[in-house]
Amino acid sequence: MNENLFASFITPTMMGLPVVIIIIMLPSMMLTSSNRLLSNRFHTFQQWVVKMITKQMMSIHSPKGQTWCLMLVSLIIFIGSTNLLGLLPHTFTPTTQLSMNLGMAIPLWAGTVFLGFRHKMKSTLAHFLPQGTPIPLIPMLIIIETISLFIQPMALAVRLTANITAGHLLMHLIGGATLVLTSISPPTAMITFISILVLLTILEFAVALIQAYVFTLLVSLYLQIDNT
């Protein structure tokens, strides 16, 4: 049972070749591109979604921050589509791997920090001390703010990993339990199935999208803090 539970989180390789590269590229292959002004229904829907995401995400930024639009919108579409595809049975979700989420979080967070230090050094350094702190507390507060700054990429990565992994594990466990219960007592299995498994699946769909949104929103917030 233990082997089966964690088998879906092993990075897939086929005869020594990393298939995970193709799996990571798969969501982008499912998105269409067109040079026409008016294209088919699917592409129009996709354009509408991208436009909605762009407006929602980038309206809070200054024009300088809006140069990151391409990066942030790609990020949210990638994480959202990867998480949603991972809800299909027997698929591998790259965002369950901490290595991948750290690989996304550290460069983007460091980018926002370096941007702040490069263009607005004084204002960035001023963020280490909140306004109105009593003078005796200043050294301790600066240490606390520095620690909270360095924790940001860890929190970004671990949040996404833990949420998606926990959701997948829960679905495995409760699905397995429901399956065993069908042979023992079908009414209990029915109740478990409807009340727990279906609701959990709906939650997982929401979590998949929400986590993508939260990740991207936090990166954009760090960008805004260091830019304005």
Partner: protein, 60 residues
């Protein structure tokens, strides 16, 4: 193929890669440095474990 790659990817994305994402490249350098440190520490600890295990097993 390289020419089509340059024409379709590099030419439209050149201002991004050269100007906008400079800090992100620096962040990626930081990440590779951290990765290198972790990997070398792991290699060192594995070598230490191997060398400390070999004489211990050799005495049996």
């Amino acid at each position: 193929m390289l020419q089509s790659l340059i024409r379709n990817v590099w030419v439209p994305m050149k201002p991004y890669y050269t100007q906008v994402y400079q800090e992100i490249w620096a962040g990626m350098g930081l990440m590779t440095f951290i990765l290198y440190k972790i990997r070398s520490a792991d290699k060192r600890s594995k070598a230490l474990k191997g060398s400390s295990a070999a004489p211990a097993h050799g005495h049996h």
